[in-house]
């Protein structure tokens, strides 16, 4: 069966070996790209849209899981969701989480028999995708469910395992002054490279912390993640609206801008 795949693996020898092993067990598989870090994987996957992604869990820049999240959020609607196979040498959290979420994974060093099994499973899934009548079932739902369950696993998504103290006040440096912003006043947080933008109704601050480190300190009942880079205070949301293409957008009470909800988090917004 012909198919296209991408390999994301930061160790060059291991990436080359995976190509060679795949060539033996699945000669018709076309490896469209081999990349060495997370950001390159996201970029190449969205550009080339391969059917299968082999993602190493520990990579520089982004983890394999963050790559999967970014791809799931930005993947175009008109194209079937990619099948994802994770690879790891040893991660105490990963294996349980993968088993629990029924996600396929490979253990390094990769065993040829195991790789053949994985390929057979992927081929079966591709065949099912092809035979399914167009629009019969939402193609993403299974994959999104798996990904949500993986992202909820402490220690796996690269964030702190257990939530420490809940943050009450944000301390933002402005010039020589420190501005104190109560989390009750925050409309939303937005990731901006290595910083997070803290947006209130009247102004905004930059704090030097990664969103993934900030997230465990926020009360998940009050602060909802709606995108890998956006966390909104639920009380600040006025309306959630779906446009004709199915995209979900939020209107806020105290801010003029509208915020996009990614397909990974759209399930939160349902009429009661």
């Amino acid at each position: 069966m012909h198919a296209t795949a991408l390999i994301a693996e930061d160790e060059a020898l291991l990436a080359a070996e995976m190509r060679a092993q795949l060539a033996r067990v699945w000669p018709e598989l076309d490896i469209v790209a081999t990349v060495g870090h997370g950001a390159a994987a996201v970029e190449a996957a969205l550009r080339l849209r391969p059917q299968i992604l082999f993602l190493d869990i520990r990579m520089p820049g982004m983890t394999g899981l963050e790559v999967a999240q970014a791809i799931a959020e930005d993947w175009p609607d008109d194209c079937a969701a990619p099948l994802i196979v994770f690879a790891t040498a040893y991660d105490q959290y990963a294996l349980q989480a993968f088993d629990h979420a029924a996600v396929d994974y490979l253990l390094k060093p990769i065993d040829a028999t195991r790789l053949a099994q994985t390929c057979a499973r992927v081929q079966a899934a591709l065949a099912a995708q092809r035979e399914a009548p167009a629009g019969a079932a939402p193609p993403w739902e299974d994959a999104l469910g798996q990904l949500r369950s993986l992202l909820a696993t402490p220690g796996l998504s690269g964030s702190v395992a257990a939530a420490p103290e809940r943050l009450q006040v944000i301390q933002a440096g402005v010039g020589n002054a420190i501005h104190l912003v109560s989390v009750d006043d925050v409309a939303y947080f937005e990731a901006a490279d290595k910083y997070v933008r803290v947006v209130t109704d009247t102004r905004e601050h930059l704090i030097r912390v990664a969103l993934r480190d900030l997230l465990p300190q926020l009360d998940p009942q009050r602060f909802w993640q709606i995108h890998r880079g956006t966390v909104v205070r639920a009380d600040a949301i006025a309306v959630a609206e779906r446009d004709e293409s199915g995209k979900l957008t939020l209107t806020l009470r105290g801010r003029p801008e509208r915020l996009a909800v990614s397909r990974l988090y759209a399930h939160r917004f349902k009429a009661m």
Binding site: D10, E11, A12, L13, L14, A16, E17, H37, A39, R58, P60, G61, A89, Y90, D91, L107, K108, P109, I110, V160, K194, R208, V209, A210, D213
Partner: protein, 347 residues
């Protein structure tokens, strides 16, 4: 925790010990003074066991030391004095009932004889109490030693686990497996480095010191293993002045610092970077430095992961050198950024 002092049987054991002591005293008195041997025994047992009962149950009225299960300080003395007086009166009364005479008559006839009994009685009580108390202390000490030993072996296991980091080990083996197929001589070289690294890690805790040159050789093995995996993303520079080659240092003391530099500095850094390990003499001290040009401390790397390694190094330095050795972690100066870990040892 051994339940010795907390179970119900210890009362019986205490009573048995007291009864034996009392029998010995009765025997001694019988031999020394003659007289009715059985009567001596009844008095001795009655007084002994009465004082024991007042002591062993009386102590429950006080706040007990959780370790020894005895009162502390003045409470112990007060409890013991009270127990001797009450126990002596009760025991004597029981003895008097048995032989149908009155000991307090003795007091009237010969105050010295009576005082002799009393002193004997007090001395015995103090001796037996001291016996139980010191036994309690011994047991506490044994428990403390056992706990300390368990803590030490747990720490050692954790250290070993952190040095033989499974993720590193399996990734190295995966690389080795590939090299065996495509480049056997390089695979052999890598295997030799892995063997040297494993041997050093496993035997490192057995010898207190090795030469700084040996330390550098082990770090070099480790870095070359990492270099096979990371390729161009890892550059290394090791600088050891010849006059410091024989300086004794604790084995693998720098290893956790180099691991942190890789794991939190270079691995998450897309562009990789350089690790520099150097040693230099500075006055009466030697400065060992592990520097990386990676992600830097601010990038969330100062989180829990790095702390265990640093804590290990700090604790080892503290045990061996006391306050004379230090470990500092700070952002590296210069345009390349990264982190500087500095160990200062007395030369």
């Amino acid at each position: 925790m051994t339940p010795v002092e907390t179970d119900r049987w210890h009362y019986l054991r205490h009573a048995a010990v007291v009864a034996t002591f009392s029998a010995v005293i009765a025997l001694g008195l019988g031999i020394a003074k003659g007289g009715d041997w059985i009567q001596q025994l009844v008095y001795a047992e009655a007084i002994g066991l009465s004082i024991w009962a007042c002591t062993d149950f009386g102590r429950l009225l006080f706040k007990l030391d959780p370790e020894t299960h005895w009162p502390t300080g003045w409470r112990m003395i007060a409890m013991q004095t009270g127990a001797v007086i009450v126990g002596y009166v009760i025991g004597t009364w029981i003895g008097d009932q048995y032989c149908g005479c009155s000991t307090f008559e003795v007091w009237r006839h010969s105050a010295r004889t009576f005082a002799g009994y009393l002193v004997l009685c007090i001395a015995t009580t103090v001796a037996i109490s001291f016996f139980f108390l010191s036994r309690g202390r011994d047991q506490r000490r044994l428990r403390q030693i056992a706990t300390a030993q368990r803590d030490a072996s747990e720490a050692q296991l954790k250290l070993l686990e952190s040095q033989l980091e499974p993720h590193m080990l399996f990734n190295t083996l995966a690389n080795l497996r590939v090299l065996i197929g495509i480049d056997p001589p390089r695979a052999q070289a890598m295997l030799d480095q892995l063997i040297a690294f494993l041997r050093a890690t496993l035997s490192g805790s057995q010898q207190p010191f090795h030469a700084l040159s040996a330390e550098f050789a082990r770090l070099s093995d480790y870095l070359q293993l990492m270099q096979v995996r990371m390729g161009d993303r890892l550059q290394t520079r090791l600088a050891l002045p010849r006059d410091l080659a024989d300086l004794p240092v604790p084995p693998l003391v720098l290893q956790p610092l180099v691991e942190n530099a890789i794991k939190h500095g270079l691995e998450p850094h897309v562009g990789g970077g350089r690790i520099e390990i150097s040693a230099e003499r500075s006055g009466t001290h030697v400065v060992l430095r592990v520097r990386d040009t990676g992600a830097g401390l601010a990038a969330g790397a100062s989180a829990a992961g790095t702390r265990f390694g640093l804590e290990q190094v700090r604790r080892r330095l503290q045990t061996i050198y006391g306050a004379a050795a230090t470990l500092d972690l700070r952002p590296a100066g210069g345009s390349e950024g990264g982190t500087d870990a500095i160990v200062t040892l007395p030369a």
